[in-house]
Amino acid sequence: MLRVSASPHVRDNATTSRIMLDVCIALVPAIIASYFIFGARAIALIVVTVASSLFWEWGSRRLMKRDNTLGDFSAMVTGILLAFNLPVSFPLWMAAVGSFFAIVIGKQIFGGIGMNFANPAILGRIVLIVSFPAQMTNFMVRNDIVQLGKAVTQYDLVSQATPLAALKQGESSFTYLQLFLGQHGGVIGEVSIVALLIGAAYLLVRRIIGPAIPLSYIGTVMILVWLAGQDPIYHLLSGGLVLGAFFMATDYVTSPITLPGKIIFGLGCGIITSLIRIYSNSAEGVSFAILLMNVLTPHIDRITKQRPIGGRKSVQNQKF
C-alpha cells in the first residue's frame, strides 16, 4: 500500500517539543544559580510550579475533552518561568494558584498553545502581584550570598530591598559585579545575570530566539534611563530586564512574527519599562511592559506584514 500525500515529502527535524526542551535547558543555569543564591526552597518553588502547571494543563484539557499536550513541554517552560518570577519565600500554595491562572486562564481556555494572547507566565505573575502584593514583594536572599567575603556561620534567608527599590530610595550600593552575579534579593530567576546570559547564548546559538527583541528592548531601556540621568548599566543588570527580554518577551505566540514587528515590540517594551522604572512608584516595569505589548502584538503584526516578490507597488514600474 503506497502512501500518498501532498508535497513536500521530507521535513527537517525541528519539533515543537524540541524547541520547548531547549528553552528548559537554557533555564538550567539560572535554576542552579537560584539554589546557590536563595537556597533549597527556590528549588521547591520550581518543583511546585512545574508540577502544578503540568497538572492544570492535563486536568483542564481532560475536562474539555481535548488531547493531552504535556509532551510539548510548554507547560514545563511556563512552570519554570513562573517560579522565576516569585520571591523565594512565596507560599507554595499561592504558587500553585499562580500556575492555574497562567495555564488555564492564560492559555487553555483560549484553545491551548498558539492561541493565547499573553505570555502565560507573565499573566500568572501579574495576577499574583495584584492578589498577593505583600508576599510577592517580600524579597529574601541567602545571608552568605549577601555577605560575600565575610565569614558567616548561618546560611539563613534575610530580607533585602532589591537593587531597583534601593535605587528609588536613593541608595545604590551594589557593585556591577554583585548585580552581574546576582548577589542580592529579588525574584529567584531574575538575579543571576550571568546564568541567564549563558542560557540566552544557548538559545541564540540554537536559533530558538533571534537577537531582535532582546537588543531592541534592552537597548531602548538603556538609552531612555540614561537620558533620564540614571545609570544604564545598573538598570541593565537589575530587575527582570534580562530575564524578561531574553526569555519572556521572545515567546513566539505572543510576539510579532516579522523582524520589523519584533523591533517595534522590543521598542514598546523598552519605553513602557523605562517609564515605569523612572516615574512610577513601582520599581519593576518588565511584567507590565511585556503584557501590554503582548496585547498590541496582533496590531503590530497587521502593519508589519511581509510583502511578496513582485507584490510591492515599486515593482510595477521597475526599469531595466
Binding site: 503506497l2 501532498a6 515529502h9 521530507v10 521535513r11 524547541i19 498558539g114 516578490i309 521597475q318 531595466f320
Partner: protein, 442 residues
C-alpha cells in the same frame, strides 16, 4: 546577490557521477495525449496499427499544443482514457514494443534559418519545459511582439535533492547544449545569456564556464555563468530571475514582462539535439533514487514506460516501497500506482521506503515564524495556511495566495509539522472558485 531564502534538505546527489544506462527492454509503453501545460493532442493512430520510433501518434489540437510521438516501434494495443498521475482521465495510446526501436522515416534534421523556422522545429520536436513544469517551449520562444526579451536565462540549478539529470547533460551533452543556447540567442535576437548553476556542482560549472569561451557556438556571444550558493529553491523561476538579473516579476505577470526568457538546461540541450538529429522528444534521462531503490542511477528511458517496469529493469526495490514520487522530494507528486507512465516533464523517480515516508501528525501553530523567514517568495505561509483552512477569501487575496510557488520550504521547516502547502493549495482552489464566481456575475 540577494540574501538567499530557502532551506537545505540533504542533497543526496548520489548519482552525480553515474554512467548513463540505457533501458530498452520495456514490454510496452503507455503515452498520454498531453504531457504539457495547456490543451494536448488528438490521437491519430488506431488499435492494431504498427508504429515506429518518432512517428506522430497525437496531433496538436490548439496553438499551444505540442505533438506526441511514439517512443518505441511496435503495435498499438489500445487507445483509451486512463488515469493520469494527477487523478484525471486522459486519452492514452498503449504500444507493445517489438524491441527493435526502428526509427520512422520522417525523422531527419530540420532546416532552421530564422526564428519562425526555429519555433516550428521546436514544436515539431514535441518539446516542453523539461525542468518539470512542461510549458510548451515553442510558445515560450514566441512571446507577444511588444515584449522585448533581452535576457536568456538557462536554469541549471537543479536544486531538488537526488536529481542529477541536468548535471549529466552539462557533463556529457555539452555540444548539443551550446548549440541549443546559441541558436535561441541568435535567431530570437536575445543579446545576453546567463547560465545559472548551484555551487555544489563545481565540475559542471568548470566545464560550462570553459565552454562559454571555447565553444564555437558560444564564443562570440555574451554568455556568462552565474553560480549561486546551494539553497533550495534557487531554481524556482521567479527566484532565479531575481538572483540572476535583479528584476522582480510583478505578481500575476510572466518572465517576458521583465524581458526574460527562462529555459531549463535540459530543454536548451534538447533544442541542440533536435537540430542535429531531428529526433522528436521520445526519451528522458531519469534520475532513479531514494531509500527504496536498489540501484540508484541515471537512466535513459523511453517515454511512456511504467515506473514499475523501469525500477524492476534497473534492479528493483530494496524493501516494500513506502512512497513513489514523480519528481524530487520537495515538489514531486506522490503516486498511488506504480504503473504510472514516465512522461516528458519527469526528471526523476524517487522511491522512499516505509520509514522515510512516514507522514507526521500536525500540531498547533506556535507562530515561530520559520515559514515566514524561509519563504523564497516573501509570503507568510502561516497566514495563508489558516486562511486556506477557513476559506477566508479576504486574507487569501490580501496575502497573495496565487504568488505561492508551492516549493515546500515552509512545510519543510515547520516544527509543528503543519501541512502548509496542502492548505495553501486549498486556498488557491477557493480563490480561483471565487474569481470564477465574480466573472460569472459580471
Amino acid at each position: 546577490m540577494f540574501g538567499l531564502r530557502g532551506v537545505h534538505p540533504r542533497s543526496n546527489k548520489h548519482t552525480s557521477e553515474s554512467e548513463l544506462v540505457v533501458i530498452n527492454e520495456v514490454k510496452s509503453v503507455r503515452i498520454p495525449m498531453a504531457m504539457q501545460i495547456g490543451p494536448g493532442c488528438k490521437v491519430c493512430v488506431k488499435k492494431g496499427e504498427d508504429v515506429k520510433v518518432g512517428q506522430l501518434i497525437g496531433e496538436p489540437i490548439a496553438g499551444m499544443s505540442v505533438p506526441v510521438h511514439s517512443s518505441v516501434s511496435g503495435t498499438v494495443t489500445s487507445v483509451k482514457p486512463q488515469v493520469k498521475s494527477d487523478g484525471t482521465m486522459m486519452e492514452m495510446v498503449e504500444i507493445e514494443s517489438d524491441g527493435l526501436f526502428t526509427v520512422h522515416e520522417s525523422v531527419k534534421p530540420p532546416t532552421v534559418t530564422n526564428k519562425q523556422e526555429l519555433i516550428e522545429a521546436v514544436r515539431a520536436a514535441g518539446l516542453v519545459g523539461l525542468g518539470g513544469a512542461g510549458f510548451p517551449t515553442h510558445f515560450k520562444l514566441n512571446p507577444p511582439p511588444d515584449k522585448k526579451i533581452d535576457r536568456l536565462l538557462i536554469n541549471g540549478m537543479e536544486c531538488e535533492p537526488y536529481i542529477t539529470s541536468d548535471e549529466f547533460v552539462v557533463r556529457n551533452r555539452l555540444e548539443e547544449l551550446c548549440l541549443g543556447i546559441s541558436t535561441v540567442m541568435r535567431l530570437c535576437e536575445i543579446p545576453v545569456g546567463i547560465i545559472g548553476m548551484e555551487v555544489n556542482t563545481p565540475e559542471a560549472i568548470k566545464i560550462i564556464d570553459h565552454a562559454t569561451s571555447s565553444s564555437p557556438h558560444l564564443a562570440d556571444l555574451d554568455v556568462t555563468i552565474k553560480s549561486v550558493p546551494a539553497c533550495y529553491p534557487q531554481g524556482a523561476e521567479k527566484v532565479m530571475i531575481r538572483n540572476l538579473t535583479g528584476r522582480e516579476v510583478p505578481s500575476g505577470k510572466l518572465p517576458h514582462d521583465v524581458g526574460c526568457l527562462v529555459m531549463n538546461i535540459g530543454t536548451a540541450r534538447y533544442i541542440g539535439h533536435y537540430l542535429l538529429t531531428g529526433e522528436p522528444l521520445t526519451r528522458k534521462y531519469i534520475t532513479l533514487d531514494g531509500s527504496a531503490i536498489k540501484v540508484p542511477g541515471i537512466y535513459d528511458v523511453p517515454i511512456g514506460a511504467s515506473i514499475d517496469e523501469i525500477v524492476q529493469l534497473t534492479g528493483g526495490y530494496t524493501d516494500k516501497p513506502g512512497k513513489v514520487i514523480m519528481g524530487g522530494p520537495m515538489m514531486g507528486v506522490a503516486v498511488d500506482n506504480v504503473e504510472m507512465s514516465i512522461i516528458k516533464n519527469n526528471n526523476a523517480i524517487v522511491v522512499l521506503d516505509s520509514e522515510d515516508s512516514q507522514i507526521p501528525e500536525e500540531h498547533p501553530c506556535i507562530r515561530c515564524g520559520r515559514c515566514v523567514r524561509v519563504c523564497p517568495m516573501y509570503l507568510m505561509p502561516t497566514e495563508l495556511d489558516q486562511a486556506g483552512r477557513k476559506h477566508d477569501i479576504a486574507t487569501l487575496t490580501e496575502m497573495s495566495v496565487m504568488d505561492c510557488i508551492e516549493c515546500g520550504c515552509c512545510t519543510f521547516v515547520c516544527p509543528a509539522k503543519r501541512y502548509l502547502v496542502q492548505n495553501i493549495r486549498i486556498g488557491k482552489a477557493v480563490f480561483r472558485q471565487h474569481q470564477q464566481r465574480l466573472r460569472e456575475q459580471a
